[in-house]
């Protein structure tokens, strides 16, 4: 399907700049040879409130791909999640997400 050309003359380029503080931070969980798969599912459900299906999918991403983004949230929240994941022994880091 072709796009319809914009014939309006009052269209302004988007100038809204999102402050960098609004860029989400990704919480990344990394694969680990020790943590049990069922334990990782348990932790995901407990910390993020995932249902069993989602928690399993995220765990399998970690297992198969080496990592999974389990949350994209504001910085303080991401720090909280990463700290909690560490308390449960999971390898987790945080990184700036896409705008």
């Amino acid at each position: 399907m072709a796009e319809r050309p914009d014939t309006r003359t009052d269209v302004q380029p988007e100038t809204t700049v999102r402050p960098s503080t609004l860029r989400p931070w990704n919480v990344v969980v990394w694969d680990d040879p020790v943590n049990l798969m069922s334990y990782v599912v348990y932790v995901f459900q407990k910390l993020f409130g995932f249902n069993e299906t989602v928690a399993n999918e995220k765990m399998m991403e970690v297992h198969n791909d080496g990592k999974s983004i389990v949350a994209s949230v504001e910085r303080e929240r991401a720090e909280f999640y990463v700290t909690r994941l560490h308390a449960y022994g999971l390898q987790a880091t945080m990184e700036r997400g896409e705008e």
Partner: protein, 171 residues
């Protein structure tokens, strides 16, 4: 052999309750673990690589991570030590039976034991330099001087699996 028994819901609180039974040998090993973990945390320089595994970096950028550590202070270490204190309290509240020891658990204490046992497993595995996933096919030669460590790693993993399954089944 370690057994977990579901005791139903507490009449007052409505909380799920379980009894975890250890035979004497298992109970003795289990009782020795909090002290060992605490000694490691009190003297991290004794095996810094292992301690670092319990406190991984949150940021890949060293400057961000340094600031993060500064903000967190010793809160992470304090939390770990509180966990060990709580585990010791659980052990003090255990019931001796004819053939072992019984721990009385609710959901919060199952969570506590899971975190504790997982920490011990991480310590052992890091100390052993395990970098690949451990499978059932990885049988360790009994003559290997590290065989007892591998056996403890496997045993604690088995208990963890029982506990996770129990809380998952309870919903």
């Amino acid at each position: 052999m370690t057994r977990l028994r579901y005791e139903g819901k507490d009449a007052k609180t409505g909380e799920d309750r379980w009894t975890l039974h250890f035979v004497e040998l298992e109970a003795n090993i289990l009782a020795s673990l909090p002290e060992q973990l605490e000694a490691l945390l009190t003297h991290p320089e004794s095996n810094q690589r292992v301690v670092d595994r319990l406190f991984p970096a949150s940021y890949e950028d060293p400057e961000e991570e340094a600031l993060n550590r500064k903000l967190l202070g010793d809160s992470l270490m304090a939390e770990r030590k509180e966990m060990i204190t709580a585990v010791n309290e659980q052990l003090e509240g255990a019931t001796k039976t004819d053939d072992g020891t019984e721990l009385h658990l609710d959901r919060a204490s199952v969570d506590l034991w899971l975190r504790f046992m997982n920490d011990v497993r991480l310590v052992i595995a890091t100390d052993l330099g395990i970098r690949e996933n451990i499978g059932d096919e990885d049988v360790v030669d009994p003559a290997n001087p590290d065989a007892p460590k591998y056996a403890l790693l496997e045993y604690l993993g088995g208990v963890e699996a029982i506990l996770v399954e129990a809380v998952s089944r309870a919903g």
